[in-house]
């Protein structure tokens, strides 16, 4: 599926865009100098797919998400790489008004549910009108109608929600309002940052169903950032695992969760407690994830916690190599070591996935 990179008029019928992140690095300025939060990330969002990015806190997944809108907040900045979005070009090079207009109209961003992403002093409807006016929407009535339809589509009373302030809405309702605001201008690339965090299980399931359905109905390219493997297992077609600012493994969700190649992915899956069986079977990953200041400058970022650590891991950074349908950055996986160990882990992981979904 190829789309021309010629900029299409904003209102013409658009299809799901493809996104190519290449060599993306983001650094944060600190008293100790500029420290990398994301380094050399390559990631492709296939048009019309849902891609999940998982990682622990501080793995750089939210920074990556913000990079897609060229919205890394100071003191951070994108130091290298590009984010090519079909119909927009390299977002990293967009500035000023061009960038502002791309946000909202081409790329929708949905905040974490726990965050207050609405102005507490204005009704949802008034903020919708602000959005429309900011993007020079000529027919504001049609915009309100679209918003009402979208809200109705997500199981809410659109007219009432538009007339409500943030404090009158529950967490799940706010999240659906956030999704509405991200989609109402007909954006076809949607980034969801922790869309279900801090929601109860039932609301969480509802939101994921809505994301999935809206994604299919409107023909979107969707990126979901989460720390919850259950979430990606449920909705993502493709999955990227981040650790220490790098994508250590990516591929089709089934492949990555069913036959994880990277020891970090394997460790993550082992750490999920099972509904049946001994709770002690779940094994937490030893150690803790690196912070900005403790990411090793050379070698593999995961080696401190890696059960398969080899000599080479301390000196050379692993290349990203294709293994089957997956792309993995690990020396040991590259050398193809431990086939029997991997089979065992794969079986365990498969079990994990089945129980989780």
């Amino acid at each position: 599926m190829v789309m021309t990179s010629v900029k299409a008029p904003a209102t013409s019928g658009r299809r799901a865009p493809g996104v190519r992140v290449s060599g993306l690095s983001v650094v944060y300025r600190t008293p100790a100098g500029e420290l990398p939060a994301v380094s050399g990330v390559d990631l492709e969002l296939v048009p019309g797919s849902i891609t999940g990015v998982v990682g622990e806190s501080g793995s750089g997944k939210s920074t990556l998400a913000l990079s897609l809108l060229n919205a890394v907040q100071p003191p951070g900045r994108i130091s290298a790489g590009s984010v090519e979005i079909d119909g927009l070009g390299d977002v990293v090079r967009l500035r000023g008004e061009e960038l502002r207009k791309a946000r909202g109209r081409h790329i929708g961003y949905v905040f974490q549910a726990a965050q207050n992403s609405l102005n507490p002093l204005k009704t949802v409807g008034k903020q919708l009108l602000d959005l429309g006016r900011s993007h020079d929407v000529a027919d504001l009535r049609a915009l309100v109608r679209d918003a009402r339809d979208l809200l109705g589509r997500m199981g809410m009373d659109g007219a009432r929600v538009l007339d409500s302030h943030q404090h009158e809405l529950s967490g799940g309702m706010r999240q659906r309002v956030g999704i509405m605001l991200a989609l109402v201008l007909n954006a076809h690339l949607v980034v969801l940052d922790e869309p279900t965090t801090a929601l109860d299980m039932i609301t969480q399931a509802n939101i994921l169903r809505i994301v999935r359905e809206v994604h299919e109905e409107r023909g979107l390219t969707t990126l979901v950032i989460t720390h919850d493997l259950g979430v990606v297992a449920e909705i993502a077609d493709r999955l990227a695992v981040m650790y220490g600012g790098r994508v250590v493994e990516q591929g089709p969700t089934r492949q990555v969760l069913g036959a994880p190649r990277h020891p970090y992915t394997q460790g993550l899956l082992r750490a999920i407690p099972r509904l049946v069986g001994d709770i002690d079977e779940a094994r937490a990953l030893p150690g803790r994830p690196p912070t900005l200041g403790t990411i090793p400058a050379t070698g593999c970022v995961f080696r401190e916690r890696c059960p398969l650590r080899a000599e080479i891991c301390a000196t050379a950074e692993p290349r990203a190599i294709s293994l089957g349908e997956s792309i993995v950055a690990c020396h040991v996986a590259e050398a193809g070591a431990g086939p029997e160990g991997r089979t065992r882990q794969a079986a365990e992981a498969r079990k994990a996935r089945e129980e989780h979904t």
Binding site: R105, N119, L131
Partner: protein, 336 residues
């Protein structure tokens, strides 16, 4: 809106009770200040050889009345007068109604304090926004330090400083009184110019003294709001800069409106030092004089005015908040 009407009704009822309670307390306190002027005059006349009846009559003629009832009777008399807006007669200015005296003094306090407060609010809030936006630069530092300095300086020190600088060291402004006594009062340029000249220093003192507070409060409020998620969310939705700025400003200024309303309530009572220093004949000076002269009625009237102003300001602050913050409007508790 019925919610607002109900709220206002409750406030007014509570405010009325509050005023009555404060009036009662100040009535009792005032009557217990040592040194009764009428009694002093009366005793003096007796010393001069008058009979008690004569002395009483002479005092009554002099002041227009002579208190004869018990404290309790006086209190009831006073309170019933209150409901007719009759605050009695001044003792130190025989024949003058307290309400008239207060009204004529009030304008010399209300106008300068109002102008000074609003001026410093506008300038301080604007500078506070700049101080917040440029908080990592030189401009931000300068603004914040100037704010802290002025905020730390007591009002009366500031008044003395300004007075010393602009009337003695660099005599370009006059102080004392509301206008030059040589100028014919009336609607003419010379009189108005003189009015402005005399009001400049008191207004400057009010403005400078509160400016620091506004700039610091606004700065911290803006910094807090800038860090809020919905501002980033608004930017990521591609809202115009102007729209985002309005989101920030409206949310940041909210708590300051309460402080503004409350500080306007202190308008009538907070000017004592400054009016004393500039010899500006407003309510503050009137209050000092009435205490020196043991002018009960005038004192009571001045206290009443201050009380009413503060109660009204509190009600206004709450109603204002109800009007501009939807979270308060629909809030469950009416006690907010």
């Amino acid at each position: 809106m019925t919610v607002i009407a109900r709220r206002l009704g409750g406030h007014l009822a509570r405010g009325l009770v509050m005023i009555l309670v404060v009036t009662t307390i100040s009535f009792v306190i005032i009557r217990n200040i040592p040194g009764d002027p009428l009694l002093a005059r009366y005793e003096k006349l007796i010393e001069q050889g008058m009979s008690p009846e004569q002395a009483e009559r002479a005092t009554a003629v002099l002041y227009g009345f002579m208190p004869s009832g018990s404290l309790w009777e006086q209190y009831l008399d006073y309170m019933s007068g209150l409901f007719r807006l009759d605050l009695g007669q001044s003792v130190s200015m025989p024949g003058a109604q307290v309400t008239d005296v207060l009204a004529s003094a009030a304008k010399w306090t209300v106008l300068p304090v109002l102008v000074g407060t609003l001026l410093s609010f506008l300038v301080g809030v604007t500078m506070g926004v700049y101080a917040a936006i440029r908080r990592s630069g030189k401009l931000g530092d300068v603004l914040a330090v100037s704010g802290s300095l002025l905020h730390g300086l007591p009002q009366y020190v500031l008044a003395l400083l300004l007075s010393a600088i602009f009337t003695t060291l660099l005599p370009i402004l006059s102080s004392g009184g509301t206008a030059d006594i040589m100028v014919e009062p009336g609607f003419n340029a010379a009189y108005i110019g003189s009015l402005i000249e005399h009001a400049t220093l008191p207004i400057a003192t009010y403005a400078l003294a509160s400016y620091g507070g506004w700039i610091l409060a606004m700065k911290s409020s803006v910094v807090t709001v800038l860090g809020d998620d919905f501002i980033l969310a608004a930017e990521l939705r591609g809202l115009r800069r102007g729209t985002v700025f309005r989101y920030v400003a409206r949310n940041a200024i909210l708590p300051l409106f309460t402080i503004l309303a409350l500080s306007l309530g202190l308008l009538f009572g907070g000017a004592i030092f400054i009016e004393r220093i500039f010899n500006y004949p407003g309510l503050g000076l009137l209050l000092i004089d009435s205490i020196t002269n043991r002018d009960y009625a005038l004192m009571g009237g001045a206290f009443l005015l201050i009380t009413v102003a503060i109660v009204i300001a509190n009600i206004a602050a709450d109603m204002l908040y109800t009007a501009i913050d939807p979270r308060v409007r629909s809030g469950e508790g009416g006690a907010a």
